[in-house]
Symmetry: C2
Subunit: 341 residues, 2 copies
């Protein structure tokens, strides 16, 4: 691959070069890159704002994450937060701090991934910042979205007897990460080793190229369902269930046998001799949606493709419990994914 | 000072602890920290969005920048971008990446600075992210502001014969930085050395605790002046004049003897044996406003406190020139401040 040094472009030139392939497609995007601030117009909708900071060595490892995938994922995790409010992402700003070891071509790869994610989700890149860094790669993305005021779904509004629903399946991204870490360790010991990824494509894809559930938000809207509460699963099911219940001042029961798990996730857990349910509860990075609906919507919610009912909301004093296959109850612990410890 | 390890709080606990002193004061801030995204409402205004990434070792040096000042400045530089659109900042999100060498108390200092800036400018903190970092401190701030559609001022709309105006004075922040760097070098050679800052308080303040010109935007509004173009001076006057002229497809004449320079800036430049005009033209970090107004507003614009007319806009083919005291013309070079080279 050709290698063009970043210094060739300079700060302004580099931003221009990396963003000139992006065009504005949303009517709410009035002015994008090129002034002191982007200009947006949201006359009839409320505005949603979320931000994520991704640091090399903490959130990603460039040993096994291709830059295009990293760009894609960096955008997707922000879109997911907007969907979790029952909104639609419309704009992002992207700031990167980058050391001299990166070439312009590598940054083009990163931005190609961001552009792909933007294209798939109808999002405009409207601003950002490019800076040198003394160490690795830093990516900071802010996403702006919209929703009708009446349709915004918060975390703190789950009600007793609501059904607890989840999209997709859980734990796959975590098992994908375990696999990548194992192969990295193998490679460290023997640089001629070829990674063993056969039959593991799904869990790798879930880790490297996660999806944000635009389709679920769309189907909820089409069926006229406004969840009573919603959150996206970035830190593991346990942690997110706890956020909803704590903030809504309710308890819940989650049924172990209802937690959706893909075959590859189960098979990988077995290979690693890990507890499958623990992986599904605490794995993180699933970017699925966890939401609650009133009990009478039972049949309607099951009409949505790829949504499962995994439990229900109960009184606060009943606590938060996982109900096992043999009907034992265990307190849910929000082990979560905590980068600060 | 007491030292509480960051790990004591964990990720969620730390964000909560650092942001709980912030309250929402703007009617456009519907929901702040605590959900997947913040919720804002901008029914009758256009929305302005700007973002800045600040990295330790590139944008700041904790050897001589107190954390409270750093927090203050990090917020101010974003507010300045919103004022440069003739808007008013209303919300910020703050993401920080922080290594274990920082204590909770130090982060409290950083947030105290951010809070002070927010208080002075009527801005609400509505979101953010806290993460571990393998190296130093990373601060990413996104600021959201508002303006009436008809009052937003872009960079690319300066017209021939417009007057070129600037607020405050230039080069002081740059000379403050030179002074801090000198004292740092002295200290490196002799740790018992005491810094020599006497009579240098103004240039130090301009470097460590810059102001964003809310007062200028307010006065422009009160006098019914909408500039034809505007930008804030973060990378040096030359660089910003060039942005306005290039994007507006015009030329300009800037008069050397009109460039406002403070006495301390001049005296420090002399002490360092540096060219004063070069420092004022290319120094950067002034966070003053550079704007153009139609010629007939000459008297009106001079009624604004702390604004000077430094030149005028001319035809594109006349180029961008500095006119010296002896009436010679030199091409303006946008040396700017380029962290990528």
């Amino acid at each position: 691959m050709a290698r063009t040094e970043i210094a060739t472009y300079g700060e302004f030139g580099l931003i221009k070069h990396l963003t000139e392939k992006f065009s504005l497609t949303n009517s709410s995007s009035i002015k994008g890159v090129g002034d002191d601030a982007a200009v947006l117009e949201y006359a009839n909708k409320q505005v949603l704002v979320t931000t994520d900071l991704l640091l090399e060595g903490i959130h990603f490892d460039l040993m096994y994450v291709p830059l295009k995938h990293l760009g894609y994922k960096s955008a997707i995790v922000n879109f997911s937060d907007i969907y979790a409010m029952n909104g639609n992402p419309k704009q992002i700003t992207v700031s990167i701090g980058v050391s001299k070891r990166f070439s312009v071509e590598e940054l083009e790869e990163l931005y190609a991934g961001i552009q792909l994610a933007c294209h798939e989700h109808g999002v405009d890149l409207v601003g950002g910042d490019t800076s040198a860094s003394v160490t690795g790669l830093t990516i900071s993305i802010t996403c702006i979205g919209e929703a009708e005021k009446e349709k915004i779904v918060y975390r703190n509004t789950a009600k007793e007897n609501d059904l607890l629903c989840v999209s997709g399946n859980l734990g796959a991204a975590y098992m994908g990460l375990q696999l990548l870490e194992r192969e990295k360790a193998v490679f460290a010991n023997d640089a001629s080793a070829q990674p063993d990824f056969e039959g593991k494509d799904y869990i790798l894809q879930r880790q490297l190229r996660p999806e944000a559930r635009k389709d679920i938000v769309k189907q909820l809207d089409e069926k006229g369902i406004i969840p009573t509460s919603m959150i996206d699963i970035s830190d593991g099911l346990s942690s997110e269930v706890m956020h909803i219940c704590t903030q809504s001042k309710v308890g819940c029961r989650v049924y172990e046998d209802r937690i959706p798990i893909d075959y590859q996730t189960a098979s990988m857990a077995e290979e690693f001799n890990m507890n499958l349910v623990t992986a599904a509860l605490n794995g993180g990075e699933d970017y699925e949606l966890l939401f609650t609906v009133p009990l009478h919507m039972h049949d309607k919610v099951l009409e949505i493709e790829d949504v499962k009912i995994i439990g229900h909301i109960c009184k606060e004093d009943m606590g938060l419990c996982l109900v096992t296959r043999d009907e034992q109850e265990f307190s849910l612990k929000a082990q979560g994914w905590n980068s600060l410890q």
